[in-house]
């Protein structure tokens, strides 16, 4: 259950720190989604997870897999690029839909 790859100490420290920091950023974003007042405040919060959270986690993944397999592995950049491109599109579309539904009642 408690398995982990056998990395050298510096790579283990870098990977552990980036995983924990990225998870904390995601938790802060989700806490904003949990606590903030209305929808237009709430739509800002989870983007903390999609920028800083995914950035830190993917840096940790790149360091761990590259050290483990002795060659540079950078295909996580693709995931970062994809999420960075698509998140503003979805949230703008959702925000416009929410604005439309809000103004429709008046």
């Amino acid at each position: 259950m408690m398995q982990a790859p056998d990395l050298p100490l510096w790579a283990a420290i870098i990977t552990g720190l980036t995983v924990i920091v990225g998870a904390l950023f995601t938790l802060i974003g989700t806490l904003g989604l949990f606590r903030l007042g209305n929808f237009f405040e709430r739509i800002h919060a989870p983007t903390l997870g999609t920028t800083f959270g995914i950035g830190f986690i993917l840096v940790g993944s790149v360091v761990a897999l590259s050290v483990l397999q002795n060659r540079p592995i950078v295909h996580e950049i693709l995931l970062l690029l994809f999420v960075t491109v698509t998140t503003p599109v979805t949230l703008m579309s959702l925000g416009r839909a929410a604005l439309f539904r809000k103004n429709r009642g008046k």
Partner: protein, 94 residues
């Protein structure tokens, strides 16, 4: 403490934090006042699950979980855009 158990504990703490984040997002999914809150929390669930799969990939040291994370990212984008479109167009038709 050697480096293997240090990394194992760090990844375990990160996964527990991700679990708490998933619980908070699913609270908003069940109690959201309107439909757009539920769609937003579903999108947050997609992103958090994708990051959780990446941490599983770090733990096992393979690139197998990365492909599952990529599929989740693609389907999450498509489903959120489709639900937002439905939210606008369904209201227009009624």
């Amino acid at each position: 403490m050697n480096s293997v158990s240090l990394l194992a504990w760090a990844i375990l703490i990160g996964q527990v934090i991700f679990g708490v984040a998933l619980l908070l997002a699913s609270y908003r999914l069940f109690r959201g006042p309107r439909a757009q809150d539920r769609i937003l929390s579903l999108d947050t669930l997609y992103v958090t699950t994708m990051l959780l799969l990446v941490t599983f990939g770090i733990r096992t040291g393979t690139t197998l979980y990365y492909e599952a994370a990529l599929v989740i990212g693609l389907l999450g984008f498509a489903s959120t855009v489709a639900l937002a479109k439905f939210l606008m167009r369904g209201e227009v038709i009624e």
